[in-house]
Structure formats: structure tokens, C-alpha cells
Amino acid sequence: MCGIIGYTGQREASEVILEALRRLEYRGYDSAGIVIMNPELTLHKRKGELAEMQRTLPQINGHVGIGHTRWATCGKPSNENAHPFLDCHGRIALVHNGIIENYMALKEKLQNEGHVFTSQTDTEVIVHLIEKHDKGDLHQAVRAAVAEIKGTYAIACIEKGSGQIIAARKENPLVLGLGIDENFVASDVTAILSYTNRVKYVMDGETVVITPEKVTIYGPDGEMVERSSQTVTWSAEDAQKGGFPHFMLKEIFEEPQAIHNSLLGALDVIENGEILPNVQFGSIKIIACGTSYHAAMVGKYALEELAKIPVTVELASEYRYSPGAKEFPLVVLISQSGETADTLAAAREAKRRGCKTLGITNVIGSTITREVDEVFYTRAGPEIGVAATKTYLTQLIALYIIAIRIGYARRNLSHDAMWNELSKLRAMPGAVQSVLDKAFDVEAAVDMLVPARDVFYIGRNINYPTMLEGALKLKEISYIHAEGFAAGELKHGPLALLDSTTPVVAVALTKDHTYDKMMANISEVAARDSPVLAIGCEDDKELPQVADLVLRVPCVDPLYSPVVVTVVLQLIAYYVALKRGCSIDKPKNLAKSVTVE
């Protein structure tokens, strides 16, 4: 997982590339580098955050260049292993996002032919392969090189003395930005939005020749491909912090608006069947990774309750290698970025097995939208903080809408019942806003978690996966070891780990039918002297008697309570990380969209 950018045009390339890298930093930030043609290929790269590379960057004037921000997969973070890479003679420079599987064999062969390697990366073999095949036409050399490699890539390369950039893609994101007398290539639209909102997406197996005047796309067999451009409606400022200290907090406070946006299409889906016009399937399988997997688990409860249809949930990385039972469920795949490698592979596997597929993603035109039969866009807007916040909530909203659609279309929900559920869903932006209005109560309450080494998160029913998500958020950004448990499972083992140094975060909502059981679990935990931070309904008078501190949420229907409870858990993770002085928007060892397997 890395970010790449290429520019050719009239501006100072170094300025464009630095700006783009700053916006791509969420894709990786253990080292960064840049090559500008002036007219030599002048290289500068550094280990560490982008700021470090920028600080040490000398003035390099030139109008063609490429840049890279890295998240190490092959070869540890170091100056040598940072991209870009040059060939033996400094004539060709290249940046790469992806993994080359057969690089050991290729490297050995190239070394025997006399090529000199300077790093431990897999990427470096590509630039030497291109050098080997270069007979004066860089585009043909790139095509010959990628034909020899096995693995995944999005690459951009430039050659001394030429204003063109050659790019290629296989299973890693790549987008072209179209300007006037200038063009761009990048891993992500946000990188180039300050310059243009006209884009073309590159597909698997394609190569592209980019000059300041035009971009030309070639298909896998070398034929020219016509593709119309799309206009992106996000604007670059969406990617700015706007007064908030961190993107994560900004994005949490954008949740009411994000939920509103994902509800906009609800009526068309539910009443008119804009997606899932046909609901003739016997079961549903939801497949996802990480945070999206937790959304999938919440979705299981919602679908089973509203649509009365059996649902299974699987991790994408497991499903794709599973033996595959003889069944034909509707397969729902969730990926915020639409580029998650494991989820994409699972989508292909599901199709291979003959299943109908529905994708839930936030990114229009992302790879997953081309792999599935139908798409639900969550419309949360760009998310820069590495910890998923508003995109998670909008995934929940998407699953609720789909559950109501299926329930209504299969006549499990009457018109009146459908109306009721939709009306509860429409109340969510307000319910989330009222949690946010009390964010400072959370800030004050987290002190008991700040010094902890381990924290337990417990919940039942639909809030069991919610607590898994809460624990994940804390792990991700505060580096505290946190585990989520179904509260009923505590007595089967984990209880042995509890003592006065292990705080427990618990959720118990009065309207939920497991409330009494939760109260018993909280008492059980309190009896081991564990400090308890509880999340409860506004009107709950019993909870303060068993918990040390209580954070309140509006008393919404338990089925929809994960939406409000999650917001509290996100705020808990945020404020704990803040008080521990952690790098909130860029936690160590993590990247935003995981395009490696």
C-alpha cells in the first residue's frame, strides 16, 4: 500500500507532487521520494514522514516528475528502499504501488545480466526490466516489462529527455487527472483535486501514455481504448481539517451529514427497488475485512430481524480460500475504498461460484464497482483519518436500507412497518448529532482508560459487534491492547484476566431485551474490581449503581442503537489517543486502504 503521483505540464512539478503526496500520505508514510527532470532525472528520497523529505528537499526546477509515499511491504523502511527507483544509467525513474511475487527470480536473472541493485525492494526489478527492454520506446518497454512480472502493480515512470509519463495498472488503483496543457496520474482522486476534477480511471492490464496535451490508454493487447472522462464532485477542500485538530475528529463531527447523504437514495431503493429489484435468494453472505467486517456483523442482526432471512458473515481473506459449500446466497461485499485486495478477490470468487453480488462502497468508480452486479454507494465523502469513522456509520446505514428493502420486497415488512423502520432510520442524523453535542462528557470520562495496558469491551446482541469495533478503534489509534467480547462469553474464560487494572467498557440499553443480562455481566465485572465505563440510555437510573461512569445516548430502537453507540466509542478512542499523545490521523504500521493481500 503506497501512494503514487506523476505530473507533466507547465507548473513546477515539485510543488504539484509535494501537494499531491501530502494528500496521499494516508496511504503510507514510512518514507517518501520524488524525481524531477531538470533535465537530468534528479532524485530525492527520505525515510520517515513526508515532512522529513520535504524539509531536506533542495530546489529542483522542472515540469515533469513523479513522487511516492511508501508503506513498506518488501524491504524495511529506509532511505535506500524509498521510491522512486532509477535504472543503472539514471535514464529511467519509476514509482510503484503493489507487490511483485516473482521478483526474486527476476532479480537474480537481471543481476546475472549485469544490472546493479541498490535496495531490498521488489519494485526495483521493474525499473531494470524496463531498462532491459528499452529500445527507444518507453511505452513498449513498459509493456514488455509488465508482461514478465507476476503480482499487482500501479506504476508510473518517466524517461530522461521526454515529457511523457508511462503508467500501468493491475489490481491497484490508478486514476488519470485531465488538465489544460497538463495531465496527472495518481493512486487516488484526492491527490489531484486541487488541480482538476476531470478524471479517467485506468483498468486492469491497461497501460497509459501521458503527455501535457493528452492521455492515451492502451488495452491489454496494445489496442487503443476510448474512455470518456468523469467529473468528481468532491472538492479538494473536503480533504482539509477546517478548524478541527485532527481529521478523525472532523470526520466524526461530519457523521450527521454523512448519514443524511447516504439516506438520500433510501426511498428509491426501498419503494422502487432501484437496487435489488429481485429478492429471490434463500440466504445472504456478507464479506468484508477489518472495520467493514464489524459493519457486516451488525448487518447480520438487522437483516435477520427485518428480512427474516438467514445471514452468514465471513472475512474476505478466509472466504476466498474456503472450500465453498453448494449454496447460492446473495453475496454482499463491503469495502470503504472499493480497493481492498482481499474483498476484491472474494468478489471474483463469489462470481466464480455463481452467486449474485452486491457491493457497498464509498468510492465512485473504484475497482469493486466493476467486479459486482450491483452497487450501493454510501456517499460519506472522502475520509482521510486512517481510523474509519463516518464511513463505518454509513456502511451501517446502507445495510439497514438493504435490510428494509429486502424485508419489504419479501413481504416480511408491511407498508406500515416499512414506513416505521424508515422513519426510525431517518431520525439517525439527529440522534448522532445529540451524541456529538455531548462529546465533551466523553472527553472527561476517558481518564480511567488512558493509563490502561488492556481494556475489555463487552456487549450483547446487535451491540456485540459494535463493541468489537470500539475495541478495534482503541487499538488502532491509542495502541492500547483492547478486546471486544460477547458479554455472555466472559464467564467462559476472559473473566480470568480481569482485575482492578483492566477497565471494561460496557453497553447496556434499557430497551434492549438483553438489558438484564448485561446488568448481570457488569456486576460480575465490577466484582473483580475492574473499573466500568458504561454506555446507557438517557433515562437509565439503574446503570449508575453498577458502573463507575455512565455515558448517555438517546433511547433509540435497539436495532438502530449501534449507530449512536459507535459514535461514543469513536469519541472514546479519539480522546484516549489524544490524552496519550498518539499520532491520531496516522497510526503506526497502518494504512487507510489495504490493497495488499
Partner: protein
Amino acid sequence: MKAVILAAGEGTRLRPFTNSRPKVMLPIGNRPILEYVVHALVANGVRDLILVVGYKKERIMSYFGDGSRFGANISYIVQDRQLGTAHALTFVKDLVDDRFLVLSGDNVIDKEMVSTLLSLGEGNSVLVTESNEPSKYGVVLLKDDRVVAIEEKPRDRIGNIINTGLYSFEPDIIPIMEAGVKIGNYGITQVLSAHLPDMRLRAALAKGEWDDAVYPWDLVRLNEIVLESHGQAISGTIEPGVTIKGSVQIGKGTRVRSGTYIEGPVIIGEGCDIGPSSCLFPSTSIGDGVSIEPFVAIKNCVIMNNIVIGAHSHLCQSVVDDNVRLGPGFSCYCGTAYVRMDDGFHNVPKIGCMIGDESTTGARVVISPGCIIGQGCRIGDGAKVSTNVENRSTVI
């Protein structure tokens, strides 16, 4: 040129609508008041804006962001304790080095106001305007174009020229404000009043639109004024058999169902569900995510966001805050009323009701003109409410 917009205040006289948002974020014509100020500045080429925020600042920051959606560069200064406007100005000390504008974020203004202010040239100056209700404001006494005294909310009628709170200042005003704050004068007008004998503060009569929401019912009047200049823009789904007259705006994802009759000026936000067979009359604003069930009549109202209005309801001259759910047959007729506020009774000639955030009503609830229902109230089936209801009360 830079402009400092004061947006930190709560606006206590506008409760319950400011319980959950600062005054500058009250929606008029489905846009926060502050957006009108930002637009007026940007239209005059003033793009570098410093927002002084405090009370519920996240509401402002998550809406305006870095300002580029509005063509501006917005930076934020946090005034944690909202002591007053002079205190707020001391925070911008290191950010202004040239003549700058100071505006309150809670007045609806148009671009003429800003161009008048810009045309004043060097020196410290203030825009003033005539008012029929000077006692609500700071009354300015003039000698030619020079301000000789400012009297805040005078009981006696000493003049009808009032301070609009729009200033053009030189950076040397900031030490004066700092000195004022040190001796406990926290308002800009207080500090200026104290210095009027030895400083030159010019006044210019405002040309253009300037209006202020002081009390909750002012929102209805302001909404009526701004909707006058709204054009036509319809997206969403309009089913066959809907009648639309006059200037009507409908946002994306909204569905207007058959038999609905809309007479503009009316603005409807995104993701709403209207009808079938409901009537919306001038001048009404309906926010985002609002459900209006069949056979509802709404006239001259400000309906905010995520609200459900039950079938057969009638609303007139009313303001309804976010997340309110009105049961079927809700009725609020309009008339002249004495409205009770913390500062006494106010005679309001045409008024319906005002309902705070998250309140709900059962079936067939009737509310008398001029009643203010607080935040989070529960009103039971068939109740007739003829007094104000405190926040979080239950009426049965």
C-alpha cells in the same frame, strides 16, 4: 483585506433554538445566517476570513470547513469563554496588520452592506441603520458623521439610528480593545463608548439589507425576507399530479408525491418525503430529511431538519427545530399573542408556535399562538397547550 466574523455567542434570547447550535447557525431559507455574511464578503472579494468561534463551535467548523466550498479561506480562533465582542477581538491581534472588517456572524446582510463598509476608506468606522425598534439595539448618537455616543438597549427613546455591528478598523484598535478588556469592558461598543471623546469613529448609513434575529419569532420574518429573492431549482422526484407555482426549490433525493400543492416561495431540502396531497404555502422553508404525511397544510413556517409531521396537521407562522415528531392531527393556528420570554412579555402580532429540538407530540395536539415548547418535551395525545413548556417536560 481580512474580515473578522464574530460567531462565538450562544444567542440566549433565541432559545430553545440555540440549545443545540450557536445563533450564527440558525437556518434562514435553509442556510445558516453566517452563510449570508460569508457570501456578502466573498461577493466583494473579501476572502480571508477569521471566524471567532466558541459556543458549539464544531457545528460551525463542520459546516464551513476551510471555506473553499464558499470561495473563502476560513481560519478559526477559539474563544473559550464568551466574555464579549471586545474580548473576541483581542484574539486576532497577530493576524491583522492592515485595515480589517469586523462583522457579527448573526445578522443577515447582503453584499451592498459590505461594499458600503469597504468604500469608507481609512480610519475606524461603523455602519449604522434606522430601526423601528431601537430599544433592542445599541442606539448611536451622531454629530455630522462622527459618533459621539453609543447607548446599549436604551429604555428611553433617544434616537432611531442603531449600530449594525459592522465595523472597519485599523490595527491600532486592538490595543484599545485590550486596555478595555483589562478594566472589564468586554463589549466592542462599551470600549468604543469609553474612548469616543478621544478617538474618531465615523458612521455611515448602511445601504442594503441588514436584519437581525433577536427573538425566536424573528426567524419567520427573516425567512420570509430571504425567500423573496430565491429562484427556481427543482431536483428530486416529482410524481405526476403535483402542482408547483411561483419560485420553489426542491433538493436532491426528495420525493414529492401526487396531489401535493406547493405555492412559492418555498424551499425544500434534500431527502424529504412530502405528501401525497399536502399543501405548502408561502413563505416556507423545509430542511433536510423531513417527512410530511398526507393532508398537511403548512403556511409561512421554518421547518428545520429530520422532522416528521403527521397526517392532517396544520402549521402556520411557526418554527420547528430538528428531530421533532408531530403526531397526526397536530394543529397550531396563528394569531396575536403576548409571548413570555425571560426579559418580559412581547406583543407579537402574527405568530404560531415554536417547538424545540427532539420534542414529540401525540395525536391531535393543539398549541395556542405564541407558545414556546422547549427541547425534548413530550406532549401527550389530545393535549391543548396554551403556555410555554420548559425543556424536557412531559404534558399529558
